[in-house]
């Protein structure tokens, strides 16, 4: 079942025409691209807020914002947009929607209508939350900690409602993917032949389904707290603000893995393809993926080591948190071992994969600092934490997303982007990223707290460097965006399988036909069996 005939006019892009044919489509590929479009728009927005925040911190005193209030609003929107509207749906909803059924050899997801519903639910929630930008801006920080989120006079309720609604979209997508993977695998595609990207999406979906409902009820209770004062989280009425943090982090810690597991999945697909070698320790990586997903649910308390949580709870959570590092390590080592004695192709996706390994290693290791309870006491709520989760979220998820975007781009539109420019963009992003966020580790250890509109003059130098780095980061993204846009317009034709990959989505024309495959594919071996002829294929090989 190597590359099937590419001489085929009809594909999902020209299958039907007109705006309506997109807005009402049930085709998972089109829905995926619509997600991608909105998410990128939101990413631009969150990015602008980020640049403004950095600009404000260029020097002590107020630079850009008229008052601390506006600054607080800016970082709140940066956080809320990036977490709820960008990074969580980024890979599962956008790339996942497009790739998952194709890698399964299926015609579509199990419930195409619900897939579209989920998209519009996301859009609806997003609009509600974003509308507050024009009404009465929110300043709670993305974590909505009670009781401040109860007291503040801003239109927090609307944002909570928006996040609440977006939660349902996340649930529906996860549900849809789980059933699809259970029921719609191509003949011969047994569990031990499932591409690791699918294992990752599968684990992610399970986390989404199990955790998101708890976020929903948490936000709902907070909304009621604000509107009628039910008092469950409000100390003034006998409630417990720390309980809110338990509720919140029971979702929001697993959410971190909703963000990073798919990223790992992408990397697990990219590295063997560009090393022309089978993935090292397939079963171990699949198991590690599930290990992380499960441990995700029993470690949330490490966000609360100084919250007034009991000593005993700190003991338990610190202990359990240590377990996260083990499967994570297993994956990193396996990826390295996959490159060993490979024949590495330095195409853009692989470049991003290297960037991911570099950055994610730092993010992971600093995570251990924060897992050790006593060390966390000093570091938590300082810039050390800010740096840490940006190394995991931006450095991890976003770089992996860019790897995936450049990897599947030819499949999306059947065209190839300018390799040179994309590499320049990649380097700018990676250098800019490290210049921006590495100094923040030191700032944090020195004691600079996060969410500060203004800071003491002794922190000025490091903040300067960080701000300057953020500009490089910005330029990098602009270049990448421009490069891909150019490719869309006038990119040269890419074959059905430019990278010589073996997973099913590459065994059909690019862009794929309306129902993905010209004839139902049959799987006869694992997804990474690069040997003989196959091992020598791939870009400019």
């Amino acid at each position: 079942m190597a590359n099937s005939s590419t001489a085929h006019g009809d594909n999902y892009l020209n299958h039907s025409h007109g705006l309506k044919s997109w807005l009402l489509t049930l085709d998972h590929k089109r829905i995926g691209l619509m997600y991608l479009f909105v998410i990128m728009a939101m990413f631009l927005m969150g990015g602008i807020f980020a640049l403004l925040v950095r600009w404000e911190l260029f020097a002590p005193g107020m630079q850009f914002f008229s008052s601390p209030n506006t600054y607080n609003q800016a970082f709140t929107y940066h956080g809320a947009i990036m977490v709820f509207m960008v990074v969580i749906p980024l890979i599962p909803a956008a790339i996942g929607n497009f790739v998952l059924p194709m890698q399964l050899g299926a015609k579509d997801v199990a419930f195409p209508r619900w897939n579209l519903v989920s998209y519009y639910v996301y859009l609806f929630g997003l609009l509600i939350a974003a509308s507050t930008l024009f009404i009465n801006k929110v300043d709670t920080g993305w974590t909505f900690y009670a009781p401040y989120s109860i007291r503040t006079g801003t239109s927090t309720t609307l944002v909570l409602l928006g996040a609440f609604i977006m939660g349902f979209s996340s649930i529906l997508t996860g549900l849809n993917f789980i059933v699809t993977i259970h029921k719609l695998r191509a003949p011969g595609l047994t569990w031990d032949r499932l591409p690791l990207f699918l294992w990752a999406i599968y684990a992610t979906s399970i986390v989404q389904v199990l955790a998101t409902p708890v976020l929903a009820i948490t936000l709902l209770l907070l909304i009621l707290e604000r509107t009628i004062g039910i008092g469950i989280f409000d100390p003034k009425l006998g409630g417990d603000p720390v309980l809110f943090q338990h509720f919140f982090w029971f979702y929001s810690h697993p959410a971190v893995y909703i963000m990073v597991l798919p990223a790992m999945g992408v990397i697990s697909d990219v590295i063997p393809t560009f090393s022309r070698k089978p993935i090292f320790g397939y079963k171990a990586i699949a198991a590690a993926t599930f290990g992380i997903a499960l441990v995700a649910f029993v470690v949330w308390g490490h966000h609360m080591f100084v919250s007034g949580q009991s000593e005993f709870a700190n003991f338990v959570f610190s202990f359990l948190t240590m377990l996260v590092a083990v499967p994570t390590g297993v994956k990193v080592f396996s990826w390295l071992a996959t490159m060993y004695k490979g024949s590495l192709r330095m195409d853009t996706p692989m470049l991003y994969a290297f960037g991911f390994l570099f950055v994610f290693t730092i993010g992971g290791l600093t995570g251990v600092f924060l897992a050790v309870v006593s060390v966390d006491v000093h570091l938590t709520a300082t810039y050390f934490v800010v740096a840490h989760f940006h190394y995991v979220m931006v450095g991890g998820t976003l770089l992996a997303f860019l790897a995936g975007l450049h990897y599947w781009f030819p499949k999306f539109c059947g065209k190839m982007y300018g390799e040179g420019t994309s590499k320049v963009g990649a380097w700018l992003i990676m250098i800019g990223f490290n210049v921006t966020f590495f100094p923040q580790f030191i700032l944090g250890v020195l004691g600079m707290p996060r969410r500060y509109a203004d800071y003491l003059p002794q922190f000025e130098q490091l903040n300067r460097i960080s701000t300057i780095g953020s500009w490089f980061l910005g330029v990098g993204f602009v270049i990448v965006g421009w490069n891909l846009a150019k490719a869309l317009k006038s990119g040269e034709k890419a074959g059905p399988n430019p990278w010589g990959a073996l997973t099913l989505e590459w065994q059909t024309p690019s862009p794929p036909p309306h129902e993905n495959f010209l004839k139902e594919p049959v799987v006869t071996e694992g997804p990474y069996e690069y040997r003989g002829e196959k091992a020598l294929m791939g870009s400019n090989a």
Binding site: G308, H378, A381, P449
Partner: protein, 360 residues
């Protein structure tokens, strides 16, 4: 050879000193121990991983290595890189936990101070009923336990030099303890986001020598600006925002007798005023001090049942607004300032008014 070693060692020392706050308690030293252990452990792993990565890129580029090797895995390796990290991690956990236990369990005979966090200032209540705002006075070499609660929203009390931090939660008591070894000023931050002036909610721990402590208890005034600055940033006297004077400039005034206005400047920091009142005209929670003196302002006169009246901002108005802030509130600002009656003495009020005058 040994010279080189010493040189390297000195450099490492310098690097350490530059990237971590001064350890002003024994606990802080223990903390540094595990911290640096983690740093070097991470370095080993990081260098290993990234080193291998770069090595592979050089050695197995497709130009160099045309024919990849067909490998699926190696059980032995996988066991090794599962077991060894696990062991290391639990070493970290055990060590970390032992340090944490000292963090939470202070000596029973600790001197207790009550800390009250409110938007956006720190209030300290001592056993003898004395209350201070913005400055926590403690004796050196004596265990101190802070019992903390909040009046409104979450705050967090963070003293980097002591490596202690805890959220301050409304309706609940949390506590930290420390035994300061280094007399002088130590910076305090609020590290739990609490609204508009979160970044202005700073304070100082003023660690006094035994006899200074006696004087202070006896009610003698301690001129905090005469005390050594925060040892982590010796170059700066900036313990409050807007006080960004490097030593060079500061020394001029820090040395000799402070003018009344300068005293006022110090006071509006130490009393937490600047959390809400800027000195540069920017509008925070309350009106800015800049140029307000002598100005005609519309105020809600609550003593006259909340009528809007125009008053001239003069010494009397300022005095009243310090002692009973809600009496006459400048229009467009919330009546949220706590009354300072009894928390500032005549001399201090005079100094503050003088400072506000000086801001034309």
């Amino acid at each position: 050879m040994t010279k080189l070693m010493l040189c390297v060692f000195a450099m490492i020392q310098a690097a350490h000193a530059a990237t971590i706050p001064v350890a002003a308690t024994d606990l802080a030293n223990d903390w540094d121990g595990i911290y640096w252990f983690l740093v070097y452990l991470s370095l080993v792993f990081f260098v290993g991983i990234v080193g291998a990565m770069i090595f592979f890129v050089v050695k197995y580029r497709k130009e160099v290595n045309k024919k990849p090797k067909y490998i699926h895995g190696h059980t032995g390796l996988e066991i090794i890189w599962t077991v060894i990290p696990t062991i290391l991690l639990f070493v970290c956990f055990g060590w970390g936990w032992s340090v944490y236990k000292e963090m939470v369990h202070g000596p029973a005979d600790s001197m207790e101070v009550r800390v009250i966090g409110k938007q956006w200032l720190w209030q300290f209540v001592y056993k003898n009923g004395t209350t201070t705002i913005g400055d926590l006075y403690v004796p050196a070499n004596r265990p101190v336990k802070l019992i903390m609660s909040s009046e409104d929203v979450l705050h967090a009390f963070f003293i980097p030099n002591f490596r202690v931090k805890s959220d301050v939660v409304p309706g609940m008591y949390t506590s930290v303890w420390f035994e300061a070894k280094v007399p002088g000023i130590h910076q305090v931050y609020c590290t739990e986001y609490c609204g508009t002036s979160h970044s202005g909610m700073l304070a100082r721990v003023v660690v006094l020598s035994a006899e200074q402590w006696k004087d202070w208890l006896a009610g003698k005034k301690i001129d905090v600006d005469q005390l050594p600055a925060d040892p982590t940033f010796p170059g700066y006297r900036a313990n409050r925002l807007g006080e960004g004077l490097p030593e060079a400039q500061a020394s001029g005034q820090a040395g000799g007798q402070l003018s009344l206005a300068d005293k006022g400047k110090a006071l509006i920091s130490s009393k937490g005023c600047i959390a809400c009142h800027s000195s540069d005209g920017s509008k925070l929670v309350g009106p800015s001090y800049k140029g307000i003196y002598g100005k005609e302002e519309k105020v809600l006169d609550n003593s006259a049942g909340g009528k809007v009246v125009t008053v001239k901002i003069d010494d009397n108005y300022l005095r009243e607004s310090i002692e009973n802030p809600t009496a006459k509130v400048v229009e467009g600002f919330p009546p949220s300032m706590p009354p300072y009656k009894g928390l500032v003495n005549e001399e201090e009020i005079a100094a503050i008014i003088e400072y506000i005058k000086s801001l034309k």
